[in-house]
Subunit: 236 residues, 2 copies
């Protein structure tokens, strides 16, 4: 498999970085080809804006998604966006590796999504979920957090963690057609012992060993919706 | 009331900007004092990193939240962060005004949250939800999106929109103690007539007219959890 691992952590010596290195090592040893986009190291620009387009369909009024389509088709989109989009399109597996900030990705990774997940190339108006352009690819979220695992679950204080991250798992990755694998969450990371951290790394290596057969998070199928995406009524 | 309106849109002439201006006008006319943080215009830096701290508790290893606490207490945190955090602390109502990008805020606003929502000043280890520092303040999410309203709901293709935004409504605003008001969502914005857009603005003015009595989204109460935030078991 071709793997694109997108990593974002402000501390180069972080445990999250050790997860990145574990993934590169484990997947390479298993014969996969891994490319890393290290957003902090590359000082990736996360702010979607008018400078992302070398030529504009409408120079007077910016509708970002329409300019994405135009910029991709006319090959005038910013070079950093084109490079990252091509990396996604060439990969079979996308890994997002990050510390959870506010139950989501850090802003630098949010901007990677805002700028690189191109309307027209990754999805279209009604080409979403199982009709989107990226169907057939897999995506894995690997995230560290300070909270403990008992803080997540149906009766827990924050509710289900996959529910907190639904905007990412379903609304972003599933929306573009990815098969979204069960995420790998490492809990309570700043407060645990080095031995516990080594155990998390071993667990992650094992998780990655079964990456081709991991369970997937269920996604909507457009078979259940009409041509303006209203739910189909079915015979009782 | 003192109101802080945080606005982020890459197009200065956008409908989202008209929502901002409507809020400033309606709230000022009602006697409230409104401050606007316009993140694109101010070129707000959204990337949380080591440069956010003038002096470090630990210069060799960055744990962002620990340095936030230290930087706030010692008044050595970056001036843009200090200014924005003080604006939040001085306000009674926070309005986040943005176009929905990937079922969340644009990266520049995510970075405003990552950098400004300070550990120690806005919340602490177990000072979250109804024990957090910002209890008593209200928050309103005002967002534009391309999707139609029938795409959201219990049986709709994307599920509930407040569920998609749970990381923001509960995981960010509720977490810090805000009373989170029912959001104002303007749907299908790029595709509707100018007359329909004027109607959205009139509806928003009316929504803001009842801002002190709008329904709130339910949040967890720590009364139901023990001192490590495990659910309390109750007699049957």
């Amino acid at each position: 498999m071709k793997v694109l691992l997108v990593h974002a952590h402000p501390e180069p010596a972080s445990f999250c970085t050790a997860l990145r290195d574990t993934a590169v090592d484990a997947l390479s040893q298993a014969g996969h080809e891994v490319t890393v986009s290290d957003l902090y190291r590359e000082r990736f620009n996360p702010v979607a804006g008018p400078d992302d387009f070398g030529s504009r369909r409408n120079p007077d009024y910016l509708v970002y998604s329409l300019e994405q389509r135009n910029g991709w088709q006319s090959r005038t989109i910013a070079p950093d966006i084109a490079r990252e989009a091509e990396r996604v399109l060439e990969s079979d597996l996308l890994i997002l590796n990050f510390p959870i900030f506010w139950f989501s990705v850090p802003a630098i990774m949010k901007g990677w999504i805002d700028r690189v997940f191109l309307s027209g190339a990754f999805f279209g108006g009604k080409r979403i979920y199982d009709r989107a352009e990226l169907t057939g690819k897999k995506a894995l979220v690997t995230a560290t957090l300070g909270g403990r695992d008992h803080m997540f679950g149906p009766d827990a204080v924050h509710g289900e963690i996959n529910g907190m991250l639904r905007h990412l798992l379903q609304g972003t990755l599933g929306y573009c057609g990815f098969q979204v694998l069960q995420p790998f969450y490492a809990y309570h990371v700043p407060y645990i012992s080095d031995e516990d951290r080594r155990q998390w790394l071993a667990d992650y290596r094992s998780h990655l060993g079964s990456v081709e057969t991991l369970p997937q998070i269920p996604m909507p199928t457009l078979d259940n919706f009409d041509d303006v995406l209203r739910p189909l009524t079915r015979p009782a």
